[in-house]
Structure formats: C-alpha cells, structure tokens
Amino acid sequence: MRILVVDDEESILVPLEFLLKKAGHEVALARTGAEALRLLEEGPFDLLVLDLMLPDLDGFAVLERLPQGRKPRVLVLTARGREADRAKALALGAEAFMAKPFGIQDLLAEVQRLSEGL
C-alpha cells in the first residue's frame, strides 16, 4: 500500500515512517500542505495520514483540495481533540480520526483496517 504521511513535526514523521515501512508499506513524507498536494498530484496514494495543524494550508484545506479521480482514503491525526474538528474532517471525506498522543499499536491497527477495505 502506498501511504503519504503529512506532519510538520520531524519527531512525528520519523517514527511513523519507520513503523509503516516495517509493516510493509511504501511511505512518502510531506511537511506542508502544499508539498502534500504536489505529491498527491504526482502519483496515486492508497492512504493519506494527515495532521490537521500545518504551517501553510491546514489539513482541512488539503482535504478540500484532494485531486479528483482516484482519491486516497484518509486517516486524520490531530492534537486538538475537539469534536467539531472530527465532524468537519469526516464531512470532508476523512474515514478515520486519531487524537494525539496515540499508541503505535492503535495506529497500526487503524491503518490495517483501512487497507483491508481496499
């Protein structure tokens, strides 16, 4: 499965990349919303792991601008545990929502669940 992980924090990207690769996925990393959109244009991804708080375009903006055609499934990560954020993200097409801080087992289980649905 091709996975794009978008987060502005190095300390989040590094362990996520390690874990997802270990689980047998192909992983690409983006640190800003613009970078994520550019990578999404270049090639199709099966899963987008998206942080909501990004320095330029935030996660919601990325969700709104997802390229038409083969859209990836979306797992949203956020440190803001607000119910409104969850509802908005789900309304914009996200399929799963994880609040930081999460355990790696939970994350991997969620990714597994999403990949099985393919």
Partner: protein, 501 residues
Amino acid sequence: MVIVEALALSILISNHLLSPLLLRAKALGSLLLWRRLSILAVMLLAYLYFRLAGEAYALVAMGLISFAAVAQLAPAALLGLYWKGATREGALAGLLGGILLWAYTLFLPALARSGWLPPVFLEGPHPLLRPEGLLGLRGLEATTHGFLASLLLNLGLVVGVSLFTKREAPEEGRTGEVGALANLLSRVLGPEAEAAFLKEAQDLPGPQAAAKAEALLAGALGPATARLLILSVTEKAPPEALLEEAARESKEVRAYARALEEARRELAQAYERLKALDQAKDEVLAAISHELKTPLTAVRALAEILEAHPDLPEAERRRFTGLLAKEAARLSRLVEEVLAYAKVQAGIPLRLQRLDLREPAQEALALVAPLARERGVLLEGRLPHGAVQALTDRDRVLQVLLNLLQNAIRHAHSRVILELTPSGREAFFYVQDDGPGVPEEKRPWLFEPFQSFAGGTGLGLYLARRLAEALGGRAFLEAGEGARFAFALPLEVDHADPGGG
C-alpha cells in the same frame, strides 16, 4: 364723550360683574343683551344725576366730582403695584373709606345743594365735621377739599390696614393642558386666538400656559370671567415650595438613576471582561494541551518502537533516542514555561536589590552559550564599561533576557547581539538577530501567549513582556528590518504594582 364713557362703563360692568354672574348661571348666551341693558342703565343713571344735581352745578363740576370718585382707585392700584406690603384688606378699606368720605364731602352735599336732601348734609352734625370744611378748614374750594380729604383717608387706610393685616397668599396658580386651554380659547375667542396661543404656548409648562391663556381671555372678557373660565379647564397648581421639592427630588432620582445606569454598565463591562478572561483561559488550556500532545505523541511512539525493536541498527537506534531526548527536553521546557506563565498570571512577587545590570546580562549570555553553539550562532555582548546601577529584581531581569536571547538564537542565521545602553532614566537592553525578521502581519500577535511561529512554545515573548512590565519597564519589537527586541528598564522606579492579574 358721553357715548364713549357710557360704553366704557357698560363694558366694565358687563365684563366684571355681569359675565361672571351669567357664567355661574350658565347663561353666557345672553351677554350681549345684558351689555345693552347696562349701557341703557348707565345712560339713564347719568341722566338722572344730571337732572338731580344739574341745577346747582355746572357740567364741569359734576365731572370733577366723578373724577374724585374714580381717583379713589389710585391708592390701592398704585400701592398694589409698587408696594409689596399692600394687602387686599388694606385696598378694600382704603376704597371704602375714600368712597364714603367722597360721598360725605362731595356727592351728598351736591344733592343737598340741589334741594333733594335736607340742608344738614351741607352743614354736618358738628362744626368740625362740616362736609366742605372738615376740621374747621376754610378757604379751600369744595371739590379740591373733598378730593384731597377722601384721597388722604383712602391712602392712610390702605397703608394702615395693610400694615396690620397679614398678606394673603397670592392667588393660587393653575396648571392645565395646553390642548384643553387652546380648546377653550377656540370656543370663546375663535380659532385665530387658538392658533396664536398654540404657537406661543406649545412648549410652555402647564402653569405658564394657563397664565397665558388667562391673560388672553382677560383681555377680551375681563379678569373675573377669564378666571372662572380658566378654573373650568385647569387644576390647582402645586405650591411653589412643593414644586421645588419635587424638582429637587426628581433631580436626585435622576442622579440616582444615572449612578445605577453607570453601575450597571460597569458590571456589564466587568462581566464581559471576566467572560473574555475565562474564554482566554480555556484557549490557553487548549493551547497548552495541544503544545503538550505533539511531543508526547513523539515520545510515546519512539519509546514504544525502541521497546518493541531491541535489535535496531545502531544508527537508527541513535536517531530515535536523539529525537526522544529532544522531545523530552521540549516537554520539560514547556512545563517550565507553563509554570512560569501560571506564576505570572497569579502575580509576580519582586525581590528588589541594587545591582549592576551588566551582571544579569553576562550571566544570560553564559547560560545561552551552549544553545548558540549547538545552532552555530555567534553570540556577542556589547556592554558598557561603567556600571549601570538599578534597583530591580535580578532573577526577573535574567529571565527576560534569557527568553529574548533564546528566541533570537532560534531565529538567527549566524549571529545574535546583546547590547546594554543607559539612556536618560532608562536602561535599554537590545537583542538583535540576523534572521528573517518578524513578518508584518504577525507583529500584532508577537507578544500574545501561545503564538508560536517557529516551533517554540509561544510563551517566551509573552513572559518577557509581562515580566518587563512587572519590573516597571517594557519589552517591544523595534520597528524596521530584522528582529531587534528592546527591553527597557527604569533606573529608578516605584514598584507599587507588582503586576499580575
């Protein structure tokens, strides 16, 4: 002349005597008839008098006698106008006495002289009481004598009785609706009078409008009728003293209402402030938890990975432990700053001491040196040669300098300068870096809590400013290119307000 006088007299009679009576009898419609009858009566009386006295007197003498009678009105009228002490009783006594003496000295002798009354009215009961020579006076012409005597008695009585009677309260004031008064005027005097009255009295208070309407009515109908008519559409005005009291009370009530309104507004403002503070507190709490969650996520993930994979390649393991240490440090820094923030919110106790400001500057430079080395930033201090003495809190000054220096080092490309310059009554610390500077749109938020633009906690600059203010100084970003933060500290200062709140 006879006709004019007869008309004048009959109008006086009809206005002042007949119309009030008719009004009471609710027969005002017959006023014209009564006025005509009174003209007739006046002329008949005049003719009668002429027939009675005419044979002994010339017309001129009769006119003079009448003039003496009319002159009896003068003392009461003049004193009433110009002497405050004149009373109604005095005026009545004067009029009555004057008219009686006039009758005794002029009118009755005239009738006696004509033969209609016995000669005793010419002689008087006693030589001293002779009608044309009172008190034995001789040599005065009869008309002059009677005129002077009656007027003197009249005047004496007005003054004397007035002095011995209490002044009656002035005629009670009336107050009424302008509309009702105008309606009355329209009925009695016609629509033109109503329009004129409305134009003048529209904005007048009740009592003044009533007085104006009464004056208009009196001009046409005489004061007595006017009074009666006005009574029907007005009510008794409260006495002046009561009015003043009411005005004073209403002023007090208004002042009280104003004070209440003021208090209400202050309360509303205080409530809004509290609400804003409460909201700000919620936001701060949300911001703090958000700031904590990111490093916590990393720490948890990294620790779990290290635990689950004991056989990681050395390079990868080192990379993860490095990240773990960095995030743990970030967490502890964050906790420290949150604690400092809480302390600042609760108020900042100051421990003042006299000190050389170069000291905390040097210590701050030494403390941030490792961070600068790690980031490859050259640290430079530009301190004056002489001591810069101030009475302040050493630890707080150090804290402000550390926050500004750490902020600068995080943003600098290669160089950070700390400068200390006494200027006037203030000492200025300048912290300058060669980084990109602060974007224009972010300057207004620079010193607000949790407004981080480069991965900091967003508390450093906020704390620097709050502490600077608690020390009686200020912290601000200098205008212009690059980032040059200034921290001004008063060299002598009252620390009456330790900040906080």
